[in-house]
Amino acid sequence: MKSLHTLKLALRALRRNVMRAALTTLGIVIGVAAVIAMMEIGNGSSEAIQHTIASMGANVLLVMPGTAASGGVSFGAGSVLTLTPEDADAIAKECPSVGAVAPVVRARTQIVYNGRNWVPMSIYGTTAAFLEVRDWPVAEGHAFTERDVRNSSKVCLLGQTEVRELFGGQPPLGKEIRIQNVSFKVVGVLQTKGANMMGMDQDDIVIAPWTTIKYRVSGTTLGNVNQSSEASSAGSVNTLSDIYPGQESLYPVPSATQQADTPQPVRFTNVDQILCSARSSAQIPAAVQQMTTLLRERHHIRPGQPDDFTVRDMAEMTKAMTSATTLMTKLLLAVAMISLLVGGVGIMNIMLVSVTERTREIGLRMAVGAEPGDILRQFLTEAVVLCLIGGAMGILVGRGSSFLVRLVLRWPTAISVGAIIAAVVVSATVGIIFGYYPAWKASRLDPIEALRYE
């Protein structure tokens, strides 16, 4: 009740000099508007960057095989083929933070159609999950299926660049292209993705079942440099029969002794990398953790030994990009804060003038029984109300100008609730800080002298 009255009193006092109140609060209006506009534009650009990165396959995690080392000589990343399709299956099954998983076999060779030829940037042997991981829709036709992968079907999906280079705009669906003398039927065309951040053409791609690329295109599987150590952990190796389940073995199952005496030549099936996606960007660290634990276990790596694989995440890239915009936003925010400070000084100035001007009024109020606390509260409320009105107008102006920026300059903007809350809190704080001294001065006036003041 009493505070409501104080509020009314403050509004009435401000109404007595609308023009001056408006000019005083202009500093706050501009300050808050600047904060809001900066935050919205900053938020907008960082969201735009996140969106861009999302289109490259948000939350993509890349598992690469590790480094072979022999006698202290390292052979570099990927020099040992330690990842198997079973690793991919296990990740899909056992890591709750991981969404889609696609093993990838890469090849680089010539493709031919009807007298034209081209060497795609990437020929990926993978599963249908690849498209899910990369967030890459099929523009025409359809993706190949699990069954195609199992059967090593000779089907493929083409990127837009291949369609242009090989078909010159002709419809490619159902046509046969040759990849290293193996003919593949085109079942689908991928949507345009454009260049990635490094400037590489992502549309320059052919996707086929990994089994087909592995066994029909790449031909022989190169031996594993680190084969001896891998062979000793026989549990992780696999044979072709795993890939064609449902086929009855023609031979009687050998006993354990027989197996030990005559080890079968093992044909390794390894993949060049495993591509997976975390369920959300927040789950990326958890996904990395789960995959590392699982793969170490599957690869029988003892504690203390280095991983024979590496997990890379795009989140690091995202972080680097957003940190640049965050820095920018912070910088602009600092400038905006300075203008708020200047606005606050303006408020203090005018409040001091107002206290001097209303000395007699203060004296009168004290004479009729206002306690120093009442006077302090009254002037403080006035300053805070002034700042809050300025803050509210600043929010409107700031939102308006960020809208204009979006409309005219076509910069992306995004509403920032945090900035609005911060603006209200900051303008109230500015009111309290810069209104306190004048209010305190008013409350310390001697009623006798105040009444006599001319």
């Binding site: 009168l364 004479a367 009729v368 029984g369």
Partner: protein
């Protein structure tokens, strides 16, 4: 018991190095329901005495008892509380809030009262008082739209709004012509007689002092005529 009792009040102002004694030992009594005039030339110390009586200031030495309560040692905050409960002020230059209606001017002291009234109640009380001073039809007028006499009547209504025990009027007719002065003084007499309100008029004008039951003359910080009541 007397409403006001001053015992050997001293007030000394310290102006830098120099001590300036203004009140040099004032003792006086004012009974409940009296209409007293405080007279003296300018510089005699009557304004200082008035400020002390109005609890706007505290004495350097001496005792002040108001309605049985010792005032001398109170802090500024406590004196403000005494003011809002027991004292009403009327000033020479009216001291109304500019650009504020008569009604709101009268309501103003109520917002500082410790037992806070509802808005409607405050309005009702202010309306009653304004009607009583004959301004029922001027309630929405701002001070600039009122004559001097009307403004002083608003000020009187304002001084009464807290039901004070004492009304302190500092040269209430100083800015008014003689006809309006007479009206205002009549109003004080009326308040004194009908409501048994204790009123202290501070003035230098013998014409004004004539309306009082008792005149106290002050000269050079001392009471000149003791406490002799005037012959009625």
């Amino acid at each position: 018991m007397d409403l006001i009792e001053l015992r050997d009040i001293h007030k000394t102002y310290h102006l830098g190095e120099v001590d300036l004694p203004v009140l040099k030992g004032i003792s006086l009594h004012v009974k409940r329901g009296e209409l007293v005039a405080l007279m003296g030339a300018s510089g005699s110390g009557k304004s200082t005495l008035m400020n002390l009586l109005g609890c706007l200031d505290h004495p350097t030495a001496g005792e002040y008892w108001l309605d049985g309560r010792g005032i001398s040692g109170l802090s500024a905050k406590e004196r403000a509380r005494v003011r809002k409960k027991t004292i009403g002020f009327v000033f020479q230059n009216f001291n109304l809030l500019a650009r504020t209606s008569a009604l709101e001017n009268v309501m103003m002291p109520l917002s500082y009262a410790s037992d806070h009234m509802a808005e409607g109640e405050m309005k009702q009380r202010a309306t009653e008082l304004l009607s009583r001073v004959g301004l029922a039809d001027r309630m929405d007028h701002q001070p600039s739209q009122l004559s001097g006499g009307q403004q002083q009547r608003v000020a009187i209504a304002r001084s009464l709004v807290n039901n004070p025990q004492i009304l302190l009027a500092d040269e209430p007719t100083g800015n008014l012509d003689s006809r309006t002065s007479e009206e205002i003084l009549q109003m004080f007499q009326d308040l004194n007689q009908r409501d048994r309100l204790t009123i202290i008029l501070v003035t230098h004008d013998p014409e004004v002092a004539r309306h009082a039951q008792r005149v106290i003359h002050i000269k050079d910080g001392l009471i000149e005529n003791g406490e002799t009541p005037l012959p009625a």
